[in-house]
């Protein structure tokens, strides 16, 4: 992707806290990242690493209470989404930023026909009348590869299969030609052949429509096939960020390396057991004062318990938040 072009989305110091009875949970801790126009950014990390919460914080989709975005700025088209009146933010949601969710079985409203649900953003954001919105909705269904689109507009979600419902979700998210599409594990709830179809569809749509995509997943195989750049999250913070080739060729953060090792290989000798990362992800009950990965890290040393490593450049457009230099096998001098 062209470097140097100004990013369409720029997040700095994002901090999200869930206020619970048992105390605050620091789910997202000073996350910085940016998204270039037309780029596909993959976001990976295990469950609870803060991927979804980060993205939902951006556009105010977290229920508040208990969620609270404490700090940060989200630059989008010259405005800060976090300091925008609710009304203005609503005009961006669904119009300039589209969202596709994980579970297509429950993400569509069961009592309205899919045509109505696709037409809703069209009528609100683009001010289309009923007939025009209907035509556009039909185009969208055709775009995402639903056969017999005109007739299916009147069908209810339960009359579609899981894969078809996810196509409907994508059609809905694309309705107003968004500049950014956030896809939150869009293929996780689907079986593998349908996953492949949706991936091909998304690749194709992105080439045709040219929007930037943030793709949240914990499937590294998907990322390798689709992303331009990857951001790895752990314990509510970004631990490594790199172009996709660099990340798979020379991962710099021990967590990324461990994550890559857990992927079972089809070729070669079969290991007796699947590889896992030993231990549990951290409980985020306070703001991080040390490296969140140190308890599970094979390279952890005393510095890791004293401070939380900042992200340092380790290559072209490649950074990692670690005190250990894996290339030299020694602590990094920062």
């Amino acid at each position: 992707m062209p470097d140097g072009a100004s990013p369409i989305l720029e997040v700095q110091g994002l901090q999200t806290v869930f206020r619970t009875r048992g105390g605050d949970i620091h789910a997202v801790n000073s996350v910085d990242f940016h998204l270039q126009p037309g780029e596909l950014l993959g976001v990976v990390g295990e469950s609870g690493s803060g991927k979804s919460v980060t993205m939902m914080s951006l556009i105010g989709l977290l229920p508040s209470p208990p969620a609270e975005v404490r700090a940060g700025t989200v630059r989008f088209g010259g405005d800060d989404l976090l300091r925008m009146p609710a009304r203005q933010l609503r005009d961006i949601r669904g119009a300039r930023i589209g969202f596709v969710f994980q579970d297509p079985m429950t993400s569509l409203n069961p009592v309205f026909p899919v045509g109505f649900q696709i037409m809703e953003p069209l009528r609100k954001h683009m001010g289309l009348d009923r007939a025009a919105a209907r035509r556009r909705a039909q185009e969208l269904l055709e775009l995402v590869g639903i056969p017999d689109a005109a007739r299916r507009l009147g069908d209810f979600p339960h009359q579609f299969s899981g894969g078809m419902r996810q196509r409907v979700m994508i059609a809905m998210a694309l309705a107003c030609d968004p500049e950014v599409l956030i896809a939150d594990e869009p293929t996780t709830a689907l079986d593998v052949t349908i996953q492949a179809q949706i991936l091909v569809l998304m690749k194709d749509l992105r080439e045709r429509l040219g929007m930037a995509v943030i793709w949240i997943t914990h499937d590294l195989g998907v990322i390798a096939g689709i992303a331009d750049r990857v951001m790895v999250m752990y314990g509510g913070q970004v631990v490594e960020q790199a172009p996709v080739k660099a990340l798979f060729a020379r991962p710099q953060h021990p967590y990324t390396r461990a994550l890559l090792q857990t992927v079972p290989h089809v070729t070669g000798a079969r290991a007796d057991r699947l590889k896992v990362i030993e231990g549990q992800p951290p409980v985020l009950s306070g703001p991080p004062r040390a490296c969140p990965f140190r308890a599970r890290c094979p390279h952890a040393f005393e510095t890791c318990a004293r401070a939380n490593p900042a992200r340092v450049a380790v290559g072209p457009d490649h950074d990692a938040a670690c005190f250990w230099d894996v290339d030299r096998g020694a602590p990094r001098h920062v």
Binding site: I59, L61, R90, G94, T106, S107, L108, V111, K124, M172
Partner: protein, 336 residues
């Protein structure tokens, strides 16, 4: 849907026959005597003759079958005659007569139904109209002061019996303030604005008492149903599409939440026709509920039997209506 409805109606026939038999047995076998309320000066032979004249010496099964014939054949014919001026019913086709008043039970019901429908029906409508917004707001602002007060009032309305709230209102508004009459005047004819105002005034207290009770139940139901739906994924989707909170809550969530609530509301309608036995007694509304309680006290088997059976028919009917409504409101349900 149509065949389903027809099938349900056909199934209702044996159900209702069994219900009518059970009601008949319960009412007939109860140790009551229709002559017990008569003056003590009437000698016992005369009482025995009276019982015989009422057909009490016949076997129970015969009495049941006779009642069935009266209810399903003679009464409809008489009603058609009355409605269209025909003469379908023969001279020997006796109507179901109340033992107490010797007038046809159907006429008693026709006399009393307007009062019940006005008072109890209005209270049901008012109760629903109050309950729905309260339930919606309580759920949307869960644990807010509005919700807390709503919960408290609902608990009070639900748990304090109507004979207490009714008498309380009478003491406050009739006895002390003198704003409203404590007795419902059935002879009042609404002809102009001032009589209309009188009618409103005499309806306010019984309607308020019953509406509080109905609203308490339905608002809790509405709240629970809204809460179930507010956390669904599709709500997040609607917000992600940039819909306003009004559209999210009043269109997406409410449309889903109404499905079980409409069912509950439909199931409650037969109680409107059944009247409110206690509240009608407290405010002296001579409606169906009062008719039933007087008939029970007087051992008036035909009246009790007929009224109870009509309630049973309404309950079966509105169960069916509730199921059909469920199918209409929820596209996932298909009765085929």
């Amino acid at each position: 849907m149509f065949t389903y409805t027809i099938r349900r109606l056909l199934i209702a026939i044996p159900t209702l026959l069994v219900i009518s038999l059970i009601i008949f047995l319960v009412v007939t076998l109860a140790p009551s005597d229709p002559t017990a309320n008569l003056p003590l000066s009437i000698p016992s032979e005369v009482r025995a003759q009276m019982r015989e004249a009422l057909g009490l010496n016949e076997p129970i099964l015969v009495r049941y079958l006779l009642w069935l014939r009266q209810f399903f054949l003679y009464e409809p014919l008489h009603m058609l005659d009355q409605a269209f001026g025909l003469s379908l019913a023969g001279e020997d086709m006796q109507r179901i007569l109340s033992w107490q008043t010797r007038s046809p039970v159907a006429d008693l019901i026709v006399q009393r139904l307007p009062q019940t429908l006005w008072v109890v029906g209005t209270s049901y409508v008012v109760g629903v109209l109050i309950a729905l917004p309260i339930g919606i707001v309580s759920a949307y602002r869960q644990y807010s002061w509005f919700d807390q007060i709503g919960t408290f009032v609902s608990m009070v309305g639900f748990s304090v019996p109507t004979f207490f709230t009714g008498v309380l209102l009478i003491v406050i508004f009739s006895v002390h303030l003198g704003w409203f009459p404590s007795i419902y005047d059935t002879t009042l004819r609404v002809t102009d604005l001032s009589t209309f105002w009188l009618q409103i005034k005499q309806m306010i207290m019984p309607v308020a008492v019953l509406a509080l009770y109905n609203a308490a139940q339905i608002s809790r139901f509405m709240r629970a149903s809204m809460l179930d739906n507010l956390n669904q994924d599709y709500v997040r989707t609607a917000r992600a599409k940039g819909m306003t909170e009004r559209v999210v809550v009043l269109l997406h969530v409410l449309r889903n939440s109404m499905i079980p609530v409409v069912t509950v509301i439909a199931l409650g309608v037969p109680t409107v026709f059944g009247g409110a036995i206690i509240t009608e007694q407290v405010f002296k509304v001579n409606g169906i509920g009062q008719l039933l309680i007087i008939a029970i006290q007087g051992g008036d088997v035909p009246t009790v039997q007929t009224l109870t059976f009509i309630f049973a028919v309404l309950i079966v009917l509105f169960n069916l209506i509730a199921d059909v409504l469920y199918g209409l409101l929820d596209p996932r349900i298909r009765y085929d």
